[in-house]
């Protein structure tokens, strides 16, 4: 808990995010959005996942198919392992951009382009993959040079000791105020570290493992991930995990002072609400 005596009595503006962090954050956000949607376009060209080197249709661990029901109508069926789900309208069978039912893995409002076009989906995907990697490299170089990782992202010992309390505060939607609000809380730090040093590098490496040329240059990629089709599955799972992170991230931004948070990621300036000890949540 922050020392009440040291807490500012009035709202205080602090410079929270450096220019480099702000720029790379928004470029990264754009890249992730385009990569997700164009990735689902690419997935739709063969909406099934496998383990190992090859794609034996009998051994799919996930698939999305359009099937004809006994009464002649069509259904979208999603199969995960040995479980099947009727996902008509969303997965397997949904209305295309032209308004007619199509057999497509993900629906048109989740793919880029909205209509079926693998070639263009690949063009978007690889262009923004390069942008993601170059942007990520710029961020990492800056983070290493400026001490951003150590200063802002590495949890302190006391934060790690009190992780249980932080979880409890989050569950009750109580967010740090005063001095505590000047730095990321421990759950935030761990989530950001997991994405920056875990999921995003995995995303890039499994993406490269799907490239036959990269497999020839670096055959160990195939051994690390257990074959090209396993890499494709891990790529899909990591994308799902990043999407989950983004959803939670946006939710937390909205519930913990939306405008203040968004402004700080645009202008860098963040308003610290004095810690009065009350649950002053603004409204």
């Amino acid at each position: 808990m922050a020392d009440v005596a040291a807490a500012p009595q009035h709202a205080q503006i602090v410079y929270r995010h450096s220019l480099m962090v702000r720029i790379t954050h928004w470029v990264n956000a754009l890249c992730l959005l385009v990569l997700l949607l164009s990735g689902l376009q690419i997935f739709n060209a063969h909406p099934a996942l496998y383990l190992g080197s090859t794609s034996n249709p009998d051994r799919a661990i996930l698939s999305m198919d359009a099937v004809q029901r006994d009464d002649g109508t069509f259904a979208g069926i999603t199969t995960i392992g040995s479980h099947t789900f009727d996902t008509t309208g969303v997965f397997g069978l949904s209305y295309g951009p032209g308004g007619q039912l199509e057999d497509r893995g993900f629906p048109s409002w989740l793919t880029l382009p909205s209509y079926r076009d693998l070639a263009t989906g690949r063009r978007w995907h690889f262009f923004f993959a390069w942008l993601l990697v170059l942007n990520g490299a710029a961020y990492l170089a800056y983070a290493a040079w400026s001490g951003h990782v150590r200063r802002d992202l590495a949890p302190t010992r006391s934060q790690l000791r009190n992780i249980g309390r932080s979880v409890w505060e989050h569950i009750r939607f109580h967010f740090p105020k005063g001095e505590d609000a000047k730095s990321y809380n421990v759950l935030q730090k761990l989530a950001y570290l997991a994405v920056i040093f875990g999921l995003l590098p995995l995303m890039v490496l499994t993406g490269l493992t799907m490239s036959p040329a990269m497999d020839a240059a670096f055959p160990f990629l195939l051994d690390i991930f257990g074959g090209r089709q396993s890499a494709r599955t891990i790529h899909f799972l990591c994308a799902s995990a990043i999407t989950l992170f983004v959803v939670v991230h946006i939710f937390m931004v909205l519930v913990s002072g939306a405008w203040n948070n968004i402004r700080s990621m645009v202008t860098g300036r963040y308003i610290i609400v004095p810690d009065t000890g009350e649950a002053a949540d603004g409204k």
Partner: protein
């Protein structure tokens, strides 16, 4: 009062997100069709090609697998038959009178029968085929190595690419074709395959001869090859992008 303001703000955010999302997707569709934006997206291909060629040496081989890894089901994709009556007659008698033409910018244009092709230095490899759609299958290929064949016909100095003209038509009017540059042409795993899984190539898989260029995606593995032309540029062939699928927006450099 406070509650209503929160709700309004929440509604505003939700509606804003929905409208923004629809505008974003609509905008992306428009950008996808804008020639200048497509030109921008297409630039990633050159970057990918240069980066991959930087980390690949001429000796980096695609992984080779064992007999046990061979896929039971190897999907035949693209054309799986050829309508041309002359081809069908040739197929009916085992391609004994069939010939593969090698011409263009070569010192000694030639036409090889299947028997002559089989007599050339060959290579057998069990490799993974990666379709651009996302699936993979492992097959065993035997074929004439491209490098010694090119040395025997003698490439002229201005030759930069090999164009593979095929007998099949995937669209109504155009024959399938593909092209590779000399880096891939002289790679040891680049072969003119006439056997798959120890039997002569079947019609669905491109009989009598298909290309294997193992460090690239499936559509580069041209089937039903009837002519190999050495060229300085493929600008004047098809729509000028170097292949049937390339003319339809796919990358010419398909290492990814």
């Amino acid at each position: 009062m406070g509650n209503r303001r929160t709700l309004t703000r929440r509604n505003f955010l939700i509606r804003g997100a929905a409208v923004g999302g629809a505008a974003f997707l609509g905008g992306c569709d428009q950008l996808s069709q804008s020639p200048s934006f497509r030109d921008l997206l297409y630039r990633a291909e050159g970057l990918t090609q240069r980066a991959q060629r930087l980390v690949l040496s001429q000796h980096s081989l695609a992984r080779e697998f064992t007999e046990a890894d061979i896929s039971k089901h190897f999907k035949a994709n693209g054309s799986t038959s050829v309508a041309d009556p002359q081809y069908q007659r040739a197929a009916a008698d085992g391609f004994t009178d069939w010939k593969l033409t090698i011409d263009g910018l070569v010192e000694r244009p030639t036409a090889l029968t299947l028997a002559e092709l089989r007599a050339l230095p060959s290579r057998t490899q069990i490799t993974r085929h990666d379709c651009v759609e996302g699936w993979s299958a492992i097959g065993k290929w035997k074929g004439a190595q491209m490098a010694p064949l090119l040395q025997s016909v003698g490439l002229k100095p201005e030759a930069r690419y090999l164009v593979f003209h095929c007998t099949d038509k995937l669209s109504m009017f155009t024959n399938y074709y593909e092209s590779i540059d000399l880096i891939d042409a002289f790679h040891p795993q680049t072969i003119l395959a006439y056997e798959m899984n120890d039997v002569p190539l079947t019609v669905p898989h491109g009989a009598p001869v298909r290309l294997r260029v193992e460090r690239q995606i499936g559509y580069k593995q041209a089937k039903y090859i009837e002519r190999i032309e050495a060229v300085a540029s493929f600008d004047a062939i098809g729509d000028g992008r170097g292949g049937f699928w390339e003319d339809r927006g796919y990358e010419w450099y398909a290492g990814i």
